[in-house]
């Protein structure tokens, strides 16, 4: 699954770090780093983290792989 965090909006509340520590980490006191492509097995964790973010900075992909097909 794919996620992206709007780090401009992120204010380091760290709710995501608490709910999905394997995906989100703080580098220092408020600089967030995250795994943008976590295992699908962590979807529930990530969705809880996204829902808990006070500034709603976490975007979780909703599309199935088939729908995002890229022909080159």
């Amino acid at each position: 699954m794919r996620i992206v965090v709007d780090l401009n909006r992120c204010q380091g509340y760290a709710q995501c770090v608490f709910l999905a520590p394997e995906v989100f980490q703080l580098n220092g006191e408020e600089a967030l780093v995250y795994e943008p492509n976590p295992d699908d097995g962590r979807r529930l964790q990530v969705e809880r983290a996204a829902a808990a973010c006070p500034v709603q900075a976490i975007v979780v992909e909703r599309l199935a792989a088939a729908e995002r097909s890229v022909a080159s």
């Binding site: 794919r2 996620i3 992206v4 709007d6 780090l7 401009n8 992120c10 204010q11 380091g12 580098n27 220092g28 006191e29 408020e30 600089a31 967030l32 780093v33 995250y34 795994e35 943008p36 492509n37 975007v59 979780v60 992909e61 909703r62 599309l63 729908e67 995002r68 890229v70 022909a71 080159s72």
Partner: protein, 466 residues
């Protein structure tokens, strides 16, 4: 049929059958495409990108990817909706024929459009000497491939890394090196790191931060040449002060070049600073007339900003790519007076040496700075920038939650020094010169620049009325 009804019919027809081409398959291109579909555009949509990858996110590249925590190919951007687009990836656009409305591709093909969105962004400025740039171990950091290569080089535990240029990318890379316990030297031509973006007062704090973390920081020096060994691998660098630095990995972080060469001869106002456009993303031609069919968004766009005396701003910011593309997409499928501006208050973040640096507004627009909250010593503070008695920007170190407060003041053109936030005030709140380098002094180029008219770039033909 009334004129209004005819126009409404034209808009309906364009939304159903118009052909839209987006050149640039990164954040702005992707979010622009999604916004077009969200706005009800159902016609054929083509997205052209010179890299073979689908759109990916760049901020992680200089942070978690470089550190080796996340592989470079994990950064593909999440999709917010189905696009039903034709993707032309791995082929660059090489020309634009506005007379016949075709985008020319490197493989010889010509793609017709009714409306075009230019989102070609920027690329890393390479080390200027091509032979030296070609040495093994010399990197730039902008693309997914760059990040993957540099990450491998760092994972091989080099004896020393030399970072040339202490802007955001260079400083973040130096920070990662220290996290990995790799010796690193940073050479910056300006007086301090981040000086172009945040000025000398904040630059001094950034410099101290680097030194506290064991970075061998050298300011006011340039790198004159790079030297390789017999095998073609970089081994040392010669600096303008006569010293040498032995390093087996070199990162040239010299700012960016806007991808406008393919627009040469198109008659658009494209040049060094990007493609001129109005606040709604409509590209200007070389005479400053807004076009109806060509739009610009993201790093390559430069538009007048209402909060900054209508000076042209080029903003290499994440949310400028998103919001600029959404505004352009909206305007591409609507008519005046329903156009929408991209009135973003610019802002960026940077994580380095364990500190979250955030800014709002345009710091280089200001000439004074005042510390308003917190403590410089603790690396946890807020400072505001002012110009002629008004607040124009703010920066925070580990104080990001207060940025909204300052953002609101900037939007209201509140007085400078700003009204005290009433909490955590430093002892001394005296404005001082912000100490930005004189224009023309070489530094790592800041990622938001005022790009007011440059007479050297004038290519318009001026024909006074007889």
């Amino acid at each position: 049929m009334t004129v209004a009804a005819t126009l409404a019919e034209l808009v309906r027809d364009f939304r159903a059958n118009g052909r839209i081409v987006i050149v640039g398959a990164s954040l702005a291109g992707l979010r622009g495409a999604e916004a077009l579909r969200a706005e009800g555009f159902t016609g054929p949509l083509t997205i052209i990108g010179d890299e073979p990858y689908e759109p990916y996110d760049r901020p992680p590249l200089s942070k978690q990817v470089l550190k080796g925590w996340v592989p470079a190919d994990h950064t593909a951007l999440p999709r917010l909706r189905a696009l039903d687009a034709q993707w032309r990836l791995g082929v660059a656009a090489t020309g634009l024929d506005r007379a016949t409305k075709h985008v020319l591709l490197a493989d010889g093909e010509q793609v017709p459009y009714d409306r075009l969105l230019i989102a070609t962004g920027t690329r890393a400025r390479p080390w200027p000497n091509p032979d030296e740039a070609a040495l093994e171990g010399v990197y730039t950091l902008r693309s997914r491939d760059d990040a993957a290569g540099l990450q491998r080089a760092l994972a091989a535990r080099p004896s020393r890394v030399l970072v040339i240029g202490a802007g955001f990318i260079g400083s973040e890379a130096a920070s990662v090196c220290r996290d990995l316990d790799i010796p690193v030297t940073v050479a910056e031509r300006g007086s301090a790191p981040l000086v172009g973006a945040l000025g000398g007062v904040i630059g001094e704090i950034a410099a101290q931060m680097q030194r506290d973390h064991g970075v061998d920081l050298r300011c006011g020096v340039g790198v004159s040449s790079l030297e390789g060994d017999a095998g073609g691998h970089v081994r040392r660098a010669h600096l303008s002060d006569g010293t040498t630095v032995a390093a087996d990995v070199v990162l040239a972080s010299l700012g960016s070049i806007r991808n406008v060469e393919w627009l040469e001869g198109s008659g658009l106002a494209a040049g060094f600073w990007g493609v001129g456009c109005d606040a709604g993303g409509r590209a200007f031609d070389i005479n400053g007339v807004a076009t109806d069919s060509v739009y610009v968004a993201g790093d390559v766009a430069r538009a007048p900003h209402v909060l900054y005396e209508y000076q042209f701003l080029a903003m290499e910011h994440w949310d400028n790519a998103v919001l600029g593309a959404q505004a352009a997409a909206h305007n591409m499928v609507n008519l005046e007076p329903h156009y929408r501006p991209n009135l973003l208050l610019p802002g960026f973040w940077s994580g380095q040496f364990g500190v979250n640096i955030k800014s709002v507004g345009v710091p280089p627009f200001g000439d004074e700075i005042v510390f308003t909250q917190g403590s410089v010593k603790d690396r946890r503070f807020a400072a505001a920038y002012g110009r002629r008695g008004r607040i124009v920007a703010a920066v925070t170190f580990n104080h990001g939650r207060w940025l909204e407060y300052y953002g609101r003041l900037i939007q209201e053109s509140a007085p400078f020094p700003p009204p005290p936030p009433g909490w955590d005030r430093p002892d001394d709140m005296k404005p001082m010169p912000a100490d930005f380098p004189e224009p023309g002094v070489p530094t790592a180029v800041p990622d938001v620049v005022l790009t007011g008219h440059d007479p050297n770039e004038r290519r318009a033909e001026f024909r006074p009325r007889r």
